[in-house]
């Protein structure tokens, strides 16, 4: 029984990270109808930004501490927001009027470009770097069950981000404009919405989420390398599809489900080799019966 509950905790902690990354994918998709594959690499840049900032911030606010961690995160978020807006401006904006496939392939190109540039000796180098301890760590022991403080931080952050995003999209003027752009770009422009500004804002917001996810992911596994975003990025993308792409609570649900599936499959002696295989086979089954994802609405494409 203990074993089962511990795996449940492990799965929820892992799933929350996937959920947090998936939120970024799904939000950009919701507005622009395309998958920003560079999201996973912005996540990596967020972790590296924190890696380089931590020693400097640490001289003023000694790490590990909550204040220090918040400041490092805030600065990384600002850097990544800038990078996200820049990527959109340089790579995607010139292709705004082109077919969606062109933008999709460009996104893959941007992703590879960032990964391999960062692997170069003169940038970050390809070797694994030790990520600094930003937060004080405490493992809570509840009668044989262990809950790490980092895991709690991840779960709480994911919930807060989900709520904040929902608020921005549903209750603010900017969010209304985002939804209008998502609905029909031309009509939104005719109503006086500055499309470029809305799209830049969407990318900035998505990249800010990626930076937070990157730092939390690095705290969980404190060895960072330029390809660290690839695996969680792929999983989060699948989580977003599973939940119904474009749907915020769906992304969170998909992330949690994927984390739990992976954890339970990985915890079986002799079967752990097939961890991803089992998890993804179940996902395919779900999508066979619910092609639009768990919370997605089936829409009819007008041709």
């Amino acid at each position: 029984m203990d074993w089962l509950l511990q795996q449940l905790i492990n799965g929820l902690a892992l799933g929350s990270i996937y959920a947090l990354i998936a939120l970024g994918y799904t939000m950009v998709y919701g507005v622009l109808r395309f998958i920003n594959f560079a999201h996973a690499d912005v996540l990596m840049l967020g972790a590296y930004a924190a890696y380089f900032l931590a020693p400097a911030v640490g001289t003023v606010f000694p790490l590990p501490s909550l204040t220090g961690a918040l400041i490092v995160t805030l600065l990384s978020v600002m850097i990544c927001t800038g990078i996200g807006i820049l990527i959109e401006f340089l790579a995607y904006r010139p292709l705004r009027q082109r077919p969606r496939l062109t933008v999709l392939i460009t996104a893959i190109g941007v992703s590879l470009f960032i990964e391999f540039t960062c692997q170069h000796e003169a940038v970050f180098g390809a070797d694994t770097k030790p990520f600094p301890q930003l937060l004080p760590v405490h493992d809570f022991n509840l009668g044989g069950l262990v809950i790490g403080s980092n895991d709690l931080v991840v779960v709480v952050t994911t919930l807060v981000m989900l709520a904040a995003l929902w608020f921005i999209v549903q209750r603010t003027k900017m969010g209304t404009a985002m939804r209008a752009v998502s609905f029909n770009q031309q009509a939104a422009a005719l109503m006086g919405i500055n499309i470029n500004r809305i799209i830049s804002f969407t990318f900035g917001l998505g990249s800010a989420l990626a930076a937070i996810a990157g730092i939390l992911y690095a705290l969980k596994a404190p060895g960072i390398d330029p390809l660290m975003g690839v695996q969680p990025g792929l999983r989060a993308f699948i989580a977003a599809v599973l939940g119904g792409i474009g749907n915020l609570p769906g992304a969170a649900l998909g992330g949690l489900l994927l984390g739990l599936l992976e954890t339970f499959a990985g915890g079986i002696s002799g079967l752990s080799n097939y961890r991803d295989g089992i998890a993804f086979a179940i996902l395919i089954l779900i999508l066979l019966f619910k092609p639009a994802g768990l919370l997605g609405k089936a829409t009819v494409e007008k041709v």
Binding site: W3, N10, L14, A126, V146, G148, K220, D276
Partner: protein, 379 residues
């Protein structure tokens, strides 16, 4: 271009290439190729072994070279990536005209180079690939390290006798030939000692979350866990094991020995054990001299086992070239195969019929953020 001009141009170009080719060998140097993981996931291994090799070549040349000729070392990086090794080894052999090839640490990538060297009849000496399959490729492939059946048995005996463990869990990296081989021989040895394997779990090298498997290991209540992985993964495994309250010793092989293990793992790797090729704090005169030379050459850096093996691989090859009395690849191969009692930094080496080095292993423990020598195990 005019068709009549094409042929002269092409032949001029070919002549140019052959001339520059001659230029490389013509100045009398012995060209030795080296491939290593200088960047990428196992970069600290590649860099260490390369630095050891470089020190050996410089030492040889400072003493007048081999057979009166300077030794020219050409190094290529395979970026710790599958597929890249075959490109660079082909280049070293066909374009650079290497008479022998040195490399590398990771067994998966040595296995990629071995068939190419074998086909071309070029002797290859691996410094630190411990998977038995590497030299099984053919009679041109040698190594200066022990192999996993020996290393696995050494650790199985250590876990049984010194740690007094009877129940052990094995946690294998299914992506790596090295890890799978070592796990297999450990299990065989441990069961032969009367031990019991209570859980067998797998991970994929490069994973970041190991809690699912570690929770399963914890619930099986073993006395120790054998983790034959590479240092980046092992560091994360140790951290997450500690978080889950798994306080039993972790044991592993030579894939652990890297400063990065200590940098990432910090206090989580404290107290764990692994087997490796040599201890830099050993008292033998060969080791002391090597450590001093290496520190002088590389800014006070203490050489790890990979550096010592990189050094040994080059010295071992130079010794064979001397005994062969020529730089003919076939003669070098025969001299390598006939090596008996070669005094290497990592211990006395004899080459057996499988072209593997027969030599002893050492067991180290992580203590106070350093690798501490525990014991030597003879073959």
């Amino acid at each position: 271009m005019n068709r009549r001009l094409l042929l002269p141009c092409a032949s001029a170009f070919a002549l140019l290439i052959s001339l520059t080719g001659c230029g490389k060998n013509g100045d009398g140097g012995i060209v030795i190729g080296e491939f290593a993981s200088l960047t990428g996931k196992e970069a600290t291994f590649g860099i260490s072994s390369h630095e050891g090799t470089l020190l050996a070549i410089e030492t040889l040349n400072a003493a007048g070279g081999v057979l009166g000729k300077k030794v020219e070392l050409l190094t290529e990086d395979n970026q710790s990536k599958a597929g890249e090794t075959s490109n660079v080894v082909n280049k070293l052999i066909s374009k650079d005209g290497a008479v022998a090839v040195l490399g590398e640490v990771a067994s998966s990538r040595s296995l990629e180079a071995a068939p190419i060297c074998q086909q071309n009849g070029i002797p290859m000496v691996s410094p630190a690939s411990t998977n038995p399959k590497v030299t099984e490729t053919g009679d041109c492939i040698f190594r200066v390290c022990f192999i996993d059946p020996f290393q696995g048995t050494v650790m199985a005996n250590f876990v049984t006798k010194s740690l007094k463990a009877t129940k052990v869990a094995v946690f294998t990296d299914v992506k790596s030939d090295y890890s799978k081989g070592l796990a297999k021989f450990f299990k065989e040895g441990f069961i032969k000692n009367g031990g019991q394997i209570v859980a067998e779990l797998d991970f994929n090298g490069g994973d970041k979350d190991f809690k699912a498997q570690l929770t399963a290991i914890k619930s099986a209540a073993p006395d120790a866990v054998f983790v034959p992985g590479y240092y980046t993964d092992v560091a994360l495994i140790a951290i997450q094991a500690k978080q889950l309250g798994l306080t039993i010793p972790l044991c592993g092989g030579d894939g652990w020995e890297s400063q990065t293990l200590l940098d990432i793992g910090k206090d989580a790797v404290e107290g764990h054990y692994f087997s490796t090729h040599y201890a830099s704090d050993a008292a033998s005169p060969g080791v002391v001299a090597f450590v001093a030379d290496y520190k002088k050459r590389f800014n006070g850096k203490v050489p790890d086992a990979m550096a010592a093996l990189g050094y040994d691989s080059a010295m071992f090859l130079a010794d064979a070239i001397r005994r062969a009395g020529s730089t003919d690849s076939k003669a070098i191969r025969d001299a390598l195969a006939a090596t008996k009692d070669f005094e290497a930094v990592t211990g006395k080496i004899a080459i057996n019929a499988q072209r593997d080095a027969v030599k002893s292993a050492v067991i180290l423990q992580v203590k106070d953020g350093k690798f501490k020598y525990l014991e030597t195990v003879a073959p």
